[in-house]
Amino acid sequence: MSSEFLLEIGTEELPASFVTHALRSMKASAVELVGQARLGTDSLEVHTMGTPRRLALRLRGLAASQPDRDETVMGPPWSAAFETDGSPKKAATGFSKKHGVAVGDLRKQATDKGDYVSVQVHEAGKATDAVLTEILPELCRRITFPKSMRWGPGEIAFGRPIHWIVSLLGSEVVGFEFAGVQAGRSTRGHRFLAPKSFDLDHASNYEEALEQAHVIVDLTRRKDRMMDGLLASAKSLDGVLEPDAFLADECVSLVEEPFTVPGSFDESFLELPDTVVVSVMRDHQRYFAVRASKGGALLPSYLNVVNTAQDPETIAKGNDRVLRARLADARFFVEEDRKAPLADRLQKLESVVFQSKLGTMGAKVRRLQANARALAQGSGTDADACVEAARLCKADLETLIVFEFPELQGEMGRWYALREGIDSAIADAIRDHYRPQGADDVVPDQVVGAVVAVADRIDTLVGCFGIGLVPSGSADPFALRRAALGIIRIALEGPIDVDLQQLIDEAYAAYSGDAELAPADEVRASLGDFFRGRIRAMLKDAHGGDVVDACLGAWDGTSLRDLRSRIEAVSELGAAPEFEALAVAFKRAFNITKESARGVVDPALLEAGAERALAERFGTVRDQIREATDERRYADALKLVAKELGAPIDRFFEEVFVMVDDARIRENRLRLLREIADTVNGIAHFHQLGTKLQRRDPSISA
């Protein structure tokens, strides 16, 4: 039965993000080093814990000692070690001495390079503590941080200066030195509540002993404790906690023992928009907001997670004062901002650089208006509202409050607009045009917001592609992938369809006079490819890469919803069991005819039987299929294809030989197949489909 091992590195206050980062590397290195040192067992448990002042590692299930090892060690070439008569040379005696064996124990081993001396070495396993002593300095060296620093003499780099190291195997110290600190059994409690150092008698008492010293070293337990405190405090205020996962992670990493101290502010600050109050509290002070249990209105209270709460009144008083000054600043900004209408900020946007080669934000806003007008006309909505929303959508960037809280862009523009009496559709669009911000964010749900959102993104995309700022690898400083994905999602999930080709052309035209862009053909081509790549990346998991490719092949590059209809139709049909045979048949029809000329089929040349049957069936449904395709009823079109053409074309390929010697019959046959292939290809390029379509499963997509 082996003992538990504990390593604790005591430091000055590590930043919140450093602790999780460091613990991850600590765990990975421990697993690797313990394995290399042959101390691992099947029951090895590696657990890490941390607070701002300590990084800890607990190992359970270590081997009681390192197992013995038998190994063949290669020595010098045989000829260099022994005379031809077999008597040993210096190399042989030296080698045997080095490994503590007699010359007679050396063996001859044949290799590719000739005979060599070898020896069987038996290495007795060392005691676990002796092995740990050797590997622990390396383990410490391998701990990584987002940024490292040096201190004092400046010899060692670590996340923050190291003050103590605990290294205990069971009740025994495993000695080693790192960063000039000698490992021992002495640890420290909470900086203020249990400042004296004290000895740990056993590794297994670690968590308990620290808890006595006001340190909850396990992150999960500390967070649970913190959340319990926050929820209870919110309840005692007749409120509910405003959830904030990011803030919770941050706060739990700033304390060793969490306490909640509630505070309050003057109710008059609630006249500010909620988002401003919440941002001031969260960004500047790391306070949680509280909403009324009934009605959900923001309460003039906050919850502060602190590390020490000996004197909550003093702490609350100090924090109240800081928050009061912060909120007063915010109120000042909002009042100043409201002295002039939003539209007055447009002038200032003329001197803000959008991108050095693409001109100012003022110019961008003018282009957005042109793009918005074109989009609005294309989707039959109120163009004036869209243009006005485009005109105002960036104005809040020049307000004091957004300068102070950049994350409130859009939100504040909307708020100011509503208070100026601007139409709510326009005001909402000022906020919504930033959506979706990421994969988890919603798209604008109203037309005006959707129009401006698309207008904004396409302007950035066309501009950046026009000056060669194309994303490569992980480098995408203008978030162009996200912009393209935003447009695709708005078209597919939002209230407006997008004609991509027209959109790109309009946005390109809007740059005229503002910037020198690459020729329109180039931008159209590279951006078109970029969009196709994004569409593929977005839809391949749900539908399969080959389905998306097949539909992209047939798509004319205009309506994004049209593309989606195709993909859905092919996906749906692909789920039917008879589809595989159909796909194979059309693939064959395409492959056999792709080099041949199109032309009118001569019925007189058709052979009775399978060929005539196919031609007649096709003749009766061809117009229906084409009509359904033209009307973008792709599911209907495909159903017709499957129902009407499936059996005849299968029979055709079974019974009819296409490449007959008689040129007239052969040509006629190819014309028939070509016409069928063309008709079906109008829906999707079947030849690009994989043939295991009916087994499509999102989890095994290409």
């Binding site: 701002p52 004092g152 400046g154 203020f192 709460a309 000996q310 702490i315 100090g318 924090n319 600043d329």
Partner: protein
């Protein structure tokens, strides 16, 4: 505790812990870090422990004396401990006790706050110190200064005196602080805040500031014998031997350039692209001074190393 008692308490505290007590620098600086007692002394192997008040100018932070928290000139108390002692945090917390604040009755937090001065080519890692939610100090382990890696590392403590005094005196308006019995902060500085805000935002002569920047920038090159040509890997070249260079007057010129840049910035006379260029120009001359200073100390045999050894 009045404002001046606060200063006196800190002076006494750090003097008792072996710091030289020196005086503010007699030129316009943006922070205590610009004082040569910090910027130059943080470079090289010689030990250095010093403390001083630094009136610090931030032209863009001016509010015409109308904002209770923001000033274009405020006071820092600056402490440099080189090499940084392992108990530097404990020393800092003790200093709060010397101000009558028992840390265990408050919520004291060390919040990550990395520091960088792009104009000085200096950066460090450390914290802002929060006292019940109020940022009262900055705490930095210098990693680089004037583009030179620091070794040993200096620990820098910077107390925001106005904020601490407001806390201790329980006032919400900086101008209501008691500087000394019967004299308020506003009696001394309110008019000054209005005048300097008006100057920095409205009346500072843009051409004059630009010319002064150019002239002082040229002075640095002259005083150091800084060559236009660069060596391998962009290394700076000097036409003068280290001890022939006038590093200290050159450093004053760097401070002037930095200040005129700040005024131009407040005046709204610098565009975004120009801004980066100005910062780069100051960083270059700051680096030239830092390298010259190091070369001089080296030529002199790093004299304070001997002094420190003798003291032990």
């Amino acid at each position: 505790m009045t404002f001046q008692e606060l200063i006196l308490a800190l002076e006494r505290f750090w003097a008792e812990r072996g710091c030289l007590i020196v005086q503010p620098y007699n030129s316009e600086v943006g922070a205590g870090t610009f004082n040569p007692h910090t910027f130059l002394r943080a470079i090289g192997p010689e030990p250095w422990n010093v403390a001083y008040v630094e009136p610090s100018r931030r032209p863009t932070d001016g509010r015409y004396g109308e904002n209770p928290n923001r000033l274009q000139q405020f006071h820092q108390y600056q402490v440099i401990l080189k090499p940084s002692p392992l108990d530097i945090q404990d020393l800092y917390l003790e200093s709060l006790r010397a101000l009558g604040t028992d840390p265990s009755h408050h919520d004291i937090r060390f919040i990550e706050d990395d520091w960088e001065s792009p104009t000085l080519g200096a950066w460090g890692l450390g914290w802002q110190v929060w006292l019940d939610g109020l940022e009262i100090s900055q705490f930095t382990y210098f990693q680089q200064c004037g583009g030179i890696d620091c070794k040993p590392i200096s620990g820098e403590l910077t107390y925001g005196l106005e904020r601490i005094a407001m806390y201790l005196q329980d006032v919400d308006d900086v101008y209501e602080l008691q500087w000394a019995p019967g004299i308020r902060y506003g009696d001394i500085y309110k008019r000054a805040e209005w005048e300097w805000s008006t100057y920095n935002f409205e009346q500072a002569d843009v051409e004059l500031q630009k010319n002064l920047f150019e002239e002082y920038e040229k002075q640095v090159a002259v005083l150091l014998g800084l060559s236009d040509k660069k060596g391998k890997g962009g290394a700076l070249q000097f036409d003068r031997e280290p001890l022939e260079r006038l590093a200290l007057p050159a450093y004053d010129a760097v401070i002037k350039c930095s200040h005129y840049f700040n005024v131009l910035d407040a005046r709204g006379a610098i565009s975004v692209t120009e801004r980066q260029r100005y910062i780069g120009r100051v960083r270059l001359i700051a680096r030239a001074v830092a390298e010259s200073w190091y070369a001089q100390r080296e030529a002199l045999g790093f004299p304070l190393l001997d002094t420190a050894a003798a003291a032990q």
